[in-house]
Symmetry: C2
Subunit: 168 residues, 2 copies
DNA sequence: TATTGTTATACTCTATAACTATA
DNA sequence: TATAGTTATAGAGTATAACAATA
């Protein structure tokens, strides 16, 4: 039916448009509604978007947050081990670490036992930033998700996603 | 700790390494296990990967599949309407349609009522490809997900993801 | 003046090959 | 020879500005 926004008849019936004038008729999503991958992708984008909003004061992306968190839980590891665990390719990890190191959040030190590898360590500022980040994530980001889904469903969702990530 | 792979003692105990020699000790994921966005992202990558594998015979990406599906369910729509519905920016939609049109899966026709816009229509080949694609998705891709999670959990997961995508 | 499709462009992510220094 | 970190590079995906044709 094309996009006929206003006709002479419409103008008489309603001066103020009730719809926000976006689209005349919403499209049929069809089998897309039943496609898990589609909802998965849309949900992921929404969640990352909210993560960035909540983390704006600290200027940390989800990937950067995951690096700081992993370093804090696994001191003394090298770049390859951290990158592999997070599914980041080593070449791409270099610039990421450059950025975090230049912000004084972590340090690279040559390992005495194997001088090829860099031991990654959070600085005091890195630990402080991580702790503030964890609080923001918990109180602003994750709390909103739990509010939306309810605690039980939120936990169930987390379990199913982890299962897909690990076993699919 | 570091990465001491083989010591004199080890060599006596086991000639054949039981571990696949990948990593000595697995890393601690810490709070990352409770971060919904993290599992969401990892799960999404796995699902898209499997989608591409299942769809290899037809050479369709998730995004291309969603376009064909939407066109089939919404005949006579223009580029802006389809792109907006799928969250694709109009400039980026152009090359995507070029690719599908060059494979003779759809056609662009100037609309008689508004000669600025292109009406998008699936070709016979496009409809045939879509139908084969839907069968592949259902029998190979989605079926495996349902098998992994169980039908009830699969449906619950779909509902929660759709809720996040729509309301979060 | 506003909108549709388009071009140009840029920035992020991701992926592979190859170099260097160490082992 | 093999591995860790790095460089260079190329390809997707995504984002914005601006132009021609049309309304």
């Amino acid at each position: 039916m094309a996009a006929s926004k206003t006709t002479a008849g419409d103008a008489l019936k309603r001066q103020v448009p009730l719809e926000p004038a976006l689209d005349v008729a919403p499209l049929q999503m069809g089998e897309l509604s039943e496609l898990l991958g589609y909802s998965l992708k849309r949900a992921q984008l929404k969640v990352f978007e909210d993560f960035l909003r909540c983390m704006a004061p600290l200027q940390l992306t989800p990937a950067q947050f995951s690096v700081l968190l992993l370093l804090d839980n696994n001191p003394g590891r090298n770049q390859t081990e951290i990158a592999n665990t997070l599914g980041i390719l080593r070449p791409n990890f270099v610039a990421m670490l450059d950025a975090l190191e230049s912000r004084d959040l972590l340090t690279r030190m040559r390992s005495p036992s194997d001088r090829r590898s860099h031991v990654l360590t959070l600085t005091d500022k890195g630990r402080a930033t991580l702790n503030r980040a964890k609080k923001l994530v918990a109180t602003r980001h994750e709390a909103r998700l739990i509010e939306l889904l309810g605690p039980a469903d939120h936990a169930a969702l987390l379990g199913m996603l982890a299962k897909i990530a690990a076993e699919f």
